[in-house]
Every structure is written in C-alpha cells, then in structure tokens.
Symmetry: C2
Subunit: 365 residues, 2 copies
Amino acid sequence: MQTSTETPARLPRLSDRAACLRSSEIRDLLKVADLPGVLSLAGGLPAPTAFPVRRIETAIGRACATAGNVGPIAFQYGPTEGLAGLRELLAAGTCASPPLGDPDEIIVTTGSQQGLDLVARVMVDPGDTVVLEDPAYLGARQVFEGAGAHIEGIPIDRAGMDTAELERRLVAGLAPRVVALVPNTSNPSGRSLVPERRAHLATLAQRHGFLVVEDDAYYALGFGTTPATPIGHLAPDHTVMLGSASKVIAPGLRVGWLRAPEWMIGALARAKQTLDLHTATLPQLVVAELLGDDGFMTEHLETLRATYAERAQILHAALAGTIDAGEPTGGMFLWGRTDVDTRAAFPDAIAAGIAYVPGDAFTIS
Amino acid sequence: MQTSTETPARLPRLSDRAACLRSSEIRDLLKVADLPGVLSLAGGLPAPTAFPVRRIETAIGRACATAGNVGPIAFQYGPTEGLAGLRELLAAGTCASPPLGDPDEIIVTTGSQQGLDLVARVMVDPGDTVVLEDPAYLGARQVFEGAGAHIEGIPIDRAGMDTAELERRLVAGLAPRVVALVPNTSNPSGRSLVPERRAHLATLAQRHGFLVVEDDAYYALGFGTTPATPIGHLAPDHTVMLGSASKVIAPGLRVGWLRAPEWMIGALARAKQTLDLHTATLPQLVVAELLGDDGFMTEHLETLRATYAERAQILHAALAGTIDAGEPTGGMFLWGRTDVDTRAAFPDAIAAGIAYVPGDAFTIS
C-alpha cells in the first residue's frame, strides 16, 4: 500500500442523497432475535420447513439441462424484462398471483423490493410527496425516503387504509406522486383493504392523477378468504402491481415482478437495465416451473395457509387479554395494542426468549 | 375494468429523474445481432460453450442439501452484505480476483452493474461531475447519467486512460466526485492501464479528493500477462473495487462484488438494502463453491483464456489491413480505427451476416 507523500490525502465525501438512506430498525432487531433460544416474532421470515426444496431441486435440474443455440439459457445474459415464459404465466395469472394482462407490461424484478425501487426512480423526485399506510411497510418507507420523498401517512383501521381521510387531505391540497400500500394482510397491520375502499382509491387516483403502488406479496395467503379485486384491475392506467415469489416459494430466490401501465413500462425497463441488467436466470426458471405447475402450487399453498393459520391462532389466543389484536385473516403479521411500553419492555422480552418489533418502528405520524 | 365517469382521468407523470435514463444502444443492436445466421461481434457475451455447467450443477446439489437451524440457507432471506463464506474468500483473494482485504468492507452485488449503481447512489448528486474513459463502458455511462451526473471523458491511448490529461483538467478546475474506469482490457477499448498511470491516478485521487471506481471484470482474462497492481491497493481509502463472476463463471448467475473504504461501506449497505434486500442466495453459493475450488478454477480460467485468445487472434488477423486494431492482450474487446463510416455500413454488415457496434456509440466527446 502506498499513499501520497506530497500533500495530505483528501477523502471524498458522500452525496447529499446518501443522507436520505437509513437502515431498517428491524434489521438491527433481527440480529438480536437471531440469538439461540430466542423465539423471534420480529421479522416476516417465511417458515423454512415449508420451502418446497425437493420440487425446486427438480426444477433446477431441468433448468441446467435446457440447451438452446447459445448454450444453457440459465447461465447466459438474459432479457432485462425477464424470461418470456415467466412473464406469459404471470400475464395469464396463477394460483399464487392475479392475472396481470399483458406480458409486455410485466418486468421480472430482483424481489418486489426492487419493484418499489424502480417505481421510486421513475416517479419520485426529491421533495415529492408519497403517501403510505400508517403503520407502513418499512421496506417501502426506506425506498421512498431514500429517493428524497416527503412521506405522508394515512391511518389504517380494520378495513385497511382510510380512503375517506385520504380524500379529505387530497381536497385540502395534498398532491402525492405515489400512494403505496399492501392491499392484502398488510405488513405490519395484518389488515386488508375492503372492496369499497379499493374502488374509492381507484377513483381518487384517476381524479387526482397519482400512481397507486399495490404491493401484493400476500395475495395467496388469505386464511379461507378469496382476495378482493386488485386495484390494478380497477384503475389499470394508474396502478403498478407488485408481486413476489418470496412468500409463496422462497425469498432467497429473489424473484418478484411488476405490472405497469404502458406509459411507464419503458422507463421502468430502462431503469432496470441500469440497476442489475436483469434478474438472475436460474431463480426465474425455478419460479416459472413451480408457478406453472398448478397442481403442485395449489397443494403447496394449502399447506402454507394451514401452517400460518395455525401459528396465527396460537399466537392470537396466547395474546388474548394482554394485547388487543384483531382476528388474523391471512399472511404473516399480527398488529395489536397494549398499555405496556413495548419499546421499554423489549430487553426483558429478549431475556425471556421472545423477540418482537415495537409498533412505533412502523408509525409515520 | 372500471373507470371514473365523473371527470376525465388524469394520468400521473414520470419524474424528472426518469428523463435521465436512457437505453443502451447496444441493447437495441443486440436484438438485430441475435437473428439466425448473423455472427455477432456486438456484445460482451461470454462463450456459452465455456460455461462450467457440470461443476455448477454439483455446487447446486450441495447448496440445496445445506441445512441449518433455519432450513436450507439457499432459500431463506440472507444478509444484505452477502454470504459470509463468499466474502471471506474474496477478502483473501482467488485465482479469478485480487485480494480485497477485509470481509467487512465487501458487499456481494447483483452483478457488478449493481456495484456501479450503488456507488452512484451514495456518491453522486444531480449536477455532479463524473469522469469516464473515452470511449467508455456504456453500463457505467447509463448509471451515472441516470443519477443526473455531468459526464466528462478522458481519452484512452494504448496505455489506458491518459492520466496526464486528467491532471491538466484537474489543475484547470475539473472537480469530479468519481473517476470510473475498467483497468484491465477495458470495454470497449481492450486497453489496460499501465502501472505508472495507476500510481499517478492513485496520487491524483488523494490530492484532489475524488473516488476511483475500478471495475475489474476482466482481471483474470489477460492473455499470458499478469494484471498490474489494482488501484484499490495503491489508494485503498479512495477506491471502490468492483468484480464479477459474469465473465469467469456465468453472467446469468448475476453475482458481483465490491470492496469499499470503511467511510462509505455503511452507506453502500443501506443503499443495497433498499435496492433488493440481498443478492439471490443460490447463485452466491454456486460462486462461493467454484471460486473456493482453486484447482478447478485455475484449469477453467486457462481454458477460458485460451478460447478468447484464439478467437481474438483470428479476428485480429482477419481485420489486418482493413481496420487498425492493436494486438489483443486479453478480455473480450477489440477496438479499431478505419476510414469506413461504420454506422452507415452497419445494414450492409448485417445483410452479410456480421454484427458489430459502431464506435461512436461509446464516445463521449
């Protein structure tokens, strides 16, 4: 190693943009939660016992053997928008995802987190306003804050985001570029947006000219309920639909997808190209094979829903009388109210072998 | 589908940032180049016949079988910075990559393209100046233009970027945040930066306080030459070193890495978290196993170098007398000068079954 001896070295400095980036508090909590002997209720980690490992192995074997003119397609550079076969499946709809309509309006993403980031790149300039649910999914908040957005929170009740309150603020002058939400069994509230509010939100988007980001990772994980019509089907020109294989197959594959209106899909593809050229091919082939195997996925999803429903019931029953949490209806999250200061109590909980996330980590206002 | 009947729908509009994104011209050319019967010299696609498919399959089998407390680690969420085992290997150095020093200063990226994007996020604000080689790697240009940077080109000669010219402009007032280059057999010039200019660039970075981005995808692909000392070893506090498995194993895996100074690694990790949480785990396990198998990789790299050297010699000989291209010394690119208008001649070339990229696609000034 050699350094200049002429003048003292001047270090470069970080950009102003870098100051907008913050780490997820949950990430720090997960480090504690990962200690041996601690039962972690802190992160949205899928049950690893439910990963379809054997089925994935079969899919990988086939992917490796697939030979084309240019050799095994699993290993060469691939299209930025994702593999055509996977996009066609998603366009038609699968038992784990709603029909997305047109393969040309679909991009395969490196997890749905990248879908959020892509939307922020092409829709948000520093100083723009972005509306989130309050409490909000932290991954969305990080992305939009990192883009320099001002975040406005709209409260959630048992029917999801309070769209009447959103309308009041819109009428009073709020002019968001983006309204982002998790429509089914949201992280962290566990609540789903009811059909009337979906229709209301679609109308508001059209009237006020904002984009809805419908991050639907838990679409297929309702406990015995069929998901309501996606907002993206009610206002297709005003909605980006995001989906993910993380919660229904496995998160380590990092395969998600988005469906966007024609007026923005080209800009999203150009942004995707600068981000990572394309999503890793082998995981795309695995997801395409599994999502395309309707018999397998139907059975697998039933197992998943039964696993999460049983766990949710046990947790809900254990909390009864201490924490006021609504009946779980799907997904992975239970949001409750208690008089206990959950942040102050956290060290005691860890000592007793339980980790959770204090609710104020998610609140905006 | 339902639309508002009250007032005409107002479409959202793209951000000002979206206007900075442009597609790679090469990407459009590659669509033409991909026609049957066309020999494409247009893109930096590795030879698919050289993908180590059997070795990768063995690695995947092992990755699927790896069970821990939380189930097969290939499928669960993983650490944002990448798998510890891969980072430790890269820190120590492999036959395909220089030693990077400290695992805590390494992040595994979704291809080295993401490494460029991460650097742009934490170092570049709109209006900042970024210096590139002229001609430049288009992937870098897209990223920094997408970040709103003003791009300044420094000419290349047979010894790489002309650092004396860079110094003249720095003295005259040029104040770049970042100077990005491909130090070994650059894309598209095929030229490597000679040791004296590496030392000069390191000194300039320290004196003028800019960051060098050393994108070293072709480090291990020199034809019978050992790469010079990386700039990151000469000025470690002023350099981000980028590397990639794309050219030495397979690009479809989308595994790259970066090594950054301590003062910026935290900001890069926070940015990576918002981008895609982490790089897909299965491809990381594959790359870790292959890079860790020194016997296999040494032999594999010899095969790769022999393959590319033979092809380069054939091309160079075929061009002799028509196009003045320097002797190829490694990597995948041959840059030549000719009196022919290569853009005007492109349709004839395609008709004759040959695709290439007209040089002006890469030039900055």
